[in-house]
Structures are given as structure tokens and as C-alpha cells.
Symmetry: C2
Subunit: 483 residues, 2 copies
């Protein structure tokens, strides 16, 4: 393990992270909101600790190897969440406990979007901006993680994408590839953000809301500057913009890269994962809209249509915006939407959940098992597109699925032990592990009323989900630390 190098990078990271306090600081000074002290202290504190981390090991430059990757990624996310919680802890309004501040910060950075704050509309704008910024930066990190890091680490079958991603491939060396890939994809991310902000503005948001919501839309984050989320605006135009950009942000960014470089939108439809993604959302939307209309939840078909589509895309991509109290919808709809969030976005997107490609592989292998029962001696490969998947990838996906369900089960039991009811516990774990945000029951509107232990479990759930479980779990294995 290259501890010196890891410490050096961590120090640099902290120094860079301190810069994120500057935009809200400027905003706080400009609007004279009284929150400048919090941001200034956070900025100074993080900058100085970064420098202190960095200085003693500034000349350590060993090449990072694959195994270091697990430590670096887990450490980065944990430290950034801690650092990110500082302004929430330090500000007078909202006055937040350490637990709440960390929950909010982790929720921002992992683009979960679960909040413990009530009265969002009354928050200082600097704090509001900071929350949205956290999600946007989290989204940036996720893109790199998903497209460049996880495939190299080989998490849950994602080595599948190893050869396909743009950029040169150097075995066992993380840095060059990450830099290269990151650049290309961040341009796309930036382009999406700018287009989304413009579109929101044209659709009727003011500049502050347009920028803020563009941040949390392309990051599939779901934080809003209003308690009523997108529902606040009562505007079909704004909802439509949100739906389009949530859909775009849920697509593999490598696929955006390919499609935009070749200027050929058909490239999307050649991708099996994209087709499955659209099919799942399309099917769920059809069921939801029909059920909403036929059950009389909305009298006008138009209302069933736009609320239904919006909520399916928002929950299905794991964004978590709301235009309606979907958790009060009848019958199986709320639970079905939660189940769909387990599928989540495409791999290599900012979306959460288990990812569409894994779901597709699970489905195809389930079908293969049936075929094998009919033809016991046939060799039947699992194909995606027209490429046969290596057995190793298929097994990794199974392992991922079972471990995901296992973690879900244990964390749900933990929440029940803290005294939450079954509906709340089930939905809270689903919403946090899938990086979705809003749940059902007691956590339908926000997470502020649940106990502190539950908040810690859920903070861990958000991190576990975002790091695709294994990045963290592997650190608990003794074999990992053996030389």
C-alpha cells in the first residue's frame, strides 16, 4: 500500500475541496446573509488541514496500483463528506447537529438527495447554493468513479466496460487513464449542465433556481431549493425539462461521448443497456399513468400523464424530485416505484441503484437457467448486444446482486431495531442504498424525524450504495491487508 502517496493525494484533495466553499462564501457576502463566517471557517480549516496533510509527504509520488484504488476511493468519499458537513455544522441557520450535518453532506455528495432539513424555502441562499453545488460535484466524482475507476477495480462485473471506454488503457495504473477519461466526460457533464440551466430558465425559473436545479438534475441528485421540490413551480414546461435531463443524465456518459463524437443519435439505440433502460421506464410509466387514471387518483388524464411520467422518471433514474405526494398514491405504485429504483440508472451515469446493465444480465442469466433445464447439455452463452459475456463477469454480477440484497436486509433489520416501522425502514434503506432520496412512511417528506442511530445507518447506506458496496466491503477483508 502506498500510504505516503495516498496521504499526498488526500492533502491535495482537501486543498482543492476547500475551494468549493468560495462560491457560497461570495454569495453570502454579496447577499449579506450572515453565513459567511461558516464558509470562511470551513474554507480556512480545510485548506490548512490539506496543507498539513500534504506537506510532510509532498515528494511521495509512487504510481498508484489497483489495490490502492479501493482505499483511495473509500477514503476520498468519506473525507469529502466530512469536510462537506462543516458549513452545515458551523452555520447559525440551519443549526444542525454533527449527525444531521454529515447526513446532509453525504446525501449531497453521493447524489442521494435525502434531506434532514425542514423549511428549505427559508434557508439562506448561500446554504441553498452550497447544497446544490455538493450534488453537482458529487455527480462529477461519480462519472469518473463509474466510467474509469470501478471498471479497473472490477467491481460487480464492471470490468465489462474496461475495453470499451475511450482513452488509453494502462494495466494496473490508475492516474493517466483517470485524467484522460475525466476530461472528456466532464466536458459532456458541463455541456449538459449549461443546457439544463438554460432550459430551466427559458421554462420560467429564475437564474438562481435554474442553476441550482440544473446542478441537482444532471447529478441525479434531487436536492431542490424548495420544500415542494419541482412541484413548487406548478409548471409543465419545467417538469418536461426536468424529465428530459433526468433521462439524459441516467445514460452511460461513455455512450454520450460516442454518440456526440459521431454526431449520430442512433448510437444510443445500438446500446442494449440504453434500450433496456428506456423499456423499463416506458413500461413503468405506462402502468403508473394507467393506474393513476383508472383508480381516479387524478381525475384528468393529463394530470395522471404528467405526474405519472415525471414520478416514474424521477424515481426510476433515482433522482428523487417530486411533483406530487407519490408516497400517498394508491395500491402498489409507491412500492413498485421503489422497486424500480433498485434497477436505477445506466452504468457510467450519475444514477444510483444496481444499474440497468446488471439487471439486464440477471434477467438474461435467469432466462439461460430456464433454457438449460430444457437443454441440459447445450452450451448457452449470456449475450449483451451480440457479445458473449465472460462467465467471470456474469458471476461478479450475481455476487453483486446477492451482496446488495444482503446489505439491504441487514440495514433494514438495524433500522427496525432502532424502532422504525416496517414501511419506513424498508423504504429508507431502499432510498438511501439506491441513492434515490425520498422514501415512504415517516421518511416520505424528509428524514429529520427519525432517530440518530438510524441516520448513521442510512449515512453508511448512501456511501455503500455509491461505492457499489464492494469498494467498501473489500476493505473489511483480512486478505486485502495481507501483503
Amino acid at each position: 500500500m502506498s500510504f505516503g502517496t495516498i496521504q499526498r493525494i488526500l492533502g491535495l484533495l482537501l486543498m482543492v475541496a476547500s475551494l468549493t466553499m468560495l462560491p457560497p462564501l461570495v454569495l453570502a457576502l454579496w447577499l449579506e446573509e450572515g453565513s459567511q463566517a461558516a464558509f470562511l471557517m470551513a474554507f480556512g480549516g480545510v485548506l490548512v488541514s490539506g496543507a498539513l496533510f500534504w506537506f510532510p509527504v509532498r515528494s511521495q509520488r509512487r504510481e498508484l496500483r489497483v489495490r490502492d484504488g479501493f482505499v483511495v476511493v473509500s477514503l476520498f468519499w468519506a473525507v469529502l463528506a466530512l469536510v462537506g458537513s462543516l458549513p452545515f455544522s458551523l452555520a447559525d441557520h440551519p443549526h444542525m447537529s454533527f449527525t444531521d450535518a454529515l447526513f446532509e453532506s453525504m446525501s449531497g455528495l453521493t447524489t442521494t438527495g435525502a434531506t434532514v432539513i425542514t423549511g428549505i424555502d427559508r434557508l439562506p441562499r448561500s446554504i441553498l447554493f452550497y447544497r446544490q453545488e455538493l450534488q453537482w460535484l458529487g455527480g462529477m466524482g461519480i462519472i469518473v468513479l463509474a466510467v474509469a475507476v470501478l471498471p479497473i477495480l472490477g467491481i460487480g462485473g464492471m470490468q465489462l466496460y474496461r475495453a470499451e471506454t475511450p482513452g488509453p488503457m494502462k494495466d494496473n495504473k490508475l492516474t493517466p487513464r483517470i485524467t484522460e477519461t475525466a476530461k472528456a466526460l466532464w466536458y459532456i457533464y458541463l455541456a449538459l449542465t449549461v443546457s439544463c440551466a438554460l432550459a430551466y430558465w427559458v421554462a420560467g425559473m429564475d437564474v438562481f433556481d435554474a442553476v441550482g436545479h440544473s446542478f441537482s438534475t444532471v447529478a441525479i441528485g434531487g436536492f431542490s431549493t424548495h420544500d415542494l421540490s419541482i412541484g413548487y413551480f406548478q409548471s409543465t414546461a419545467i417538469e418536461t425539462v426536468a424529465v428530459v435531463f433526468m433521462l439524459l443524465a441516467g445514460i452511460n456518459f461513455s455512450l454520450h461521448f460516442v454518440a456526440w463524437r459521431s454526431l449520430n443519435p442512433l448510437a444510443y439505440f445500438r446500446d442494449s443497456e440504453f434500450r433496456a433502460y428506456m423499456a423499463v421506464l416506458g413500461l413503468a410509466a405506462t402502468v403508473t399513468v394507467s393506474y393513476l387514471y383508472l383508480s381516479g387518483t387524478f381525475e384528468r388524464f393529463g394530470d395522471a400523464l404528467h405526474h405519472g411520467i415525471f414520478q416514474v422518471v424521477s424515481i426510476g433514474t433515482t433522482t428523487g424530485f417530486t411533483t406530487a405526494e407519490y408516497f400517498h398514491w394508491p395500491g402498489f405504485l409507491p412500492v413498485m416505484l421503489l422497486f424500480i429504483s433498485f434497477i436505477g440508472g445506466c452504468a457510467g451515469s450519475t444514477g444510483g441503484g444496481m444499474k440497468v446493465i446488471r439487471f439486464l444480465l440477471l434477467f438474461k442469466q435467469g432466462m439461460r437457467e430456464i433454457s438449460r433445464l430444457v437443454h441440459p447439455s447445450a452450451q448457452i452463452p449470456v449475450k449483451v448486444g451480440n457479445k458473449a459475456m465472460p462467465e467471470r463477469v456474469v458471476e461478479a454480477v450475481w455476487g453483486f446482486f446477492a451482496t446488495y440484497i444482503g446489505c439491504f436486509t441487514l440495514m433494514m433489520l438495524a433500522l427496525l431495531a432502532t424502532g422504525l416501522d416496517q414501511v419506513t425502514a424498508f423504504s429508507a434503506v431502499a432510498a438511501c442504498l439506491n441513492n434515490l432520496g425520498p422514501g415512504l412512511g415517516e421518511v416520505g417528506f424528509h428524514y429529520s424525524d427519525i432517530n440518530n442511530t438510524a441516520k448513521w445507518v442510512l449515512t453508511l447506506a448512501m456511501l455503500l450504495g455509491r461505492l457499489e458496496i464492494f469498494t467498501l466491503l473489500v476493505l473489511l477483508s483480512p486478505a486485502f491487508w495481507r501483503r
Copy 2:
């Protein structure tokens, strides 16, 4: 497909099945309970229809092949459930609708033990006996299914047991192997039943209850002749007998065979699945007893101990007897017990759930995935005992797990759509799919208050679970019916 032969066997099966009406008929006549007409009509009707089925194809004797096995097994279970429902439909007391009668019959035959009858204590003894008999016969069928048929069909990795089971092995030919294996194991089943009945009687039950409960104990069925189940007797001796025989019945019957033939009880401990089975139940019992005592649910440690152990063994083996209203226990206990019922009994036992061996394989493969992340180029086999599992078996187990979860999800959504609440829907599907019996919420005591559609969904769930899902699912695949 050898339809003629299948029809001939079905006819024979019906004629044999008609005999099951005779013991309760004799009992009804003897006790002058007024239910004799129902059993007589059922006996005659089934005998005659069997003969009508059998007669036209009586000389068809093609050897059954593996593929026929799926049809035969699914058809047998469905037809027997239908036939078994006749006395419930025909009797004046209880007066049951077709839906209820089929639910009760399926619940009996699949040894689920979910009931739609209230006021069990007031039922005629002939009907009570018949319910217990259904479970006992169902358990007999399951032993053959689990030890001889499913391994040959290759369901969910059970080909793993193909070479290990006693008896000669003729490829692709079902009949000789089934007959041979069945005989050896039924003797064990019979011996267990007789010992269990004697033990119950010695512990204080009357003869009727002792025989009836021995039927539903060794079958891991859970039907009782009292509304309060084993709790009716208020006897630690009886509870202890139940715990011992539930534990025994949850063990692979092939393992009983090996241990009893070699007169060596150590043979049990050489079996990985047995060790895992005891470990899971032991751990769950420790957690449950501690939680019950520390939370003050029972003031005396002794009460926490015997209720805790009883309920863990009863739910963990998927028997479903109760001595306490466990569904009102605090915190995570009810949900944890339900989760443990997913693990269920050992393969080759009368228990339900996914089976301990599959759970063990899932766990080991999850561990392997973590090892693979640490050592990406190592070849790491999944071992049970000291035998490396073929990848094919491991994959089949994954496929089984994912499909099980998939079926669970869809059926839970279906129940929610019929208007059940989340706790009821979740627990009802778990209790029926795992062939456990009692659930939580509205289905804590019995299943009579839920709507008819839900009962049908749950009847299907019991059958799906008992046939290890794939036996039924494969019949839906077009490839199966292609020549």
C-alpha cells in the same frame, strides 16, 4: 412428450389419492360427525375420475424422460391440491368456498400450513385429521421430490446432489430411481413420525393430537388441531418434543440415511449444510432470546428462552407452529424471523425456503467475489466441504436466487394491488413462497380476512415455492414445448 403415459400415471395417482379419503371417512362414521357424506363423495368421485383417466391409456408404458418430469411434477401437485380440496368444499362444517378450500388444500399438501379456517378447535375431528393427513402425505411427496426428482431435473443447482444420493443412477430414466430412493427414505420418514407421535403422547398430548401433530411436525407443515397451535398445550415438554422433531425434519433425509445406516451420529457434523443449518438457527436463537429478555418482552429469562428457541426453530425450519404471538414481538424480531425463513430447511428435507445449501453457496460466492477483487488473477473455486463446486452449479444457484427474489417482488406487488397493506403483503408472500405459513399484520393469525384474488396469488406462491419455482416456470418457456 409422453402424454399417454402421463395420463395413465395421473389416472393411477387419482385412484391412489382417493384412498386418502378413507381414514377420515372411517373417523367420521365412527364419531358420527356428519362429515361422512363429504368424504364418501370425494372418495367415489376421485376414484371414478381416476379410472376414467386411466382406462383409455392403460397400456401406454413409455419410459418417462427428464423433460416429462417437469410436467408430471407440476401436474401432480396441482391435481392433488384440487382433489384434496373436495372434502373442504363438500362438508357442511366448515362451509368453505372453492377458493378457500383450494387454498387450504394447497397449504396442506405443500406443507405451508397457512390456514383460512377460524375456529379450528370446533371443527369435526374427521376434518381435523384430514388436514393433518394432507400435510403428512405432502411431506412424503416432498422427500421424493427433493431427494430424487429435483436433482435429476437439475433445478437451482440441485444436480449437486445427483451423485451423492443412495440408490442406482440411470441417466434420464426417472422411475426406477424414484422407486428405490423413495422406499429407503419413506422408512425414515415413517420412523420419525412414529417416534414423534410417541414422544408427543408421552409428553402429555392425547392420542389424536399426538398423531395429528406428529404428521404436521415431520412434514414441517405447521397445521395444528387447535387455534392456538402448540401454545394451546402450555407445556414445555411438548414444546421440546416439537423443537427436536422440527430440527430433525429440517435435515437432509439422505443425511439421515447415511447416519442411520452407519449408526454414526458424527456423520451429521461432517456435512457442511448441516453445520450451516445449526449455525444459522443457533445464531438466530441467541439474538432472539437476548432481545426478548433485554427488551422486557418476557420478564422471566426462562420464558424468553423457551419461546425464543421454539419460535426461531419453528420459523427458521419453516414449520410455522406458534407458542406466542411472535408477530407482536418488538423491533426487528418478526422481520428477522421472516428473513430467516428464506434460508429455510436443508435441501432434501421437508422444509421450505431457499434451502440452507443454496444460502451457503451464495455466501461463499460472495466471499469469493471479494477475494477476486483482492487477487484479480487468482483461480478461486467455491468449495463445500472440500469439494470444489462446478461453475454450473454455482450459476444455477444464482439464477435460483434472483428468480426467487423476482417472483417474490412481483407477487408482493400483486397483493398490494389487491389492496393489502405493505406489512401484510410482504409477510404473506414470504410466508407462502417459503412454505412457512403464518405471516404478520392481517395474516398473523390466519388468512381468512384477505380478499379472494390475494388468496389465489398466495395459492400460486405456495405451489411455486414448493416446486422450487423453476419446475413451474420452465413450463411457461416456449422452448420447452418445441420438439
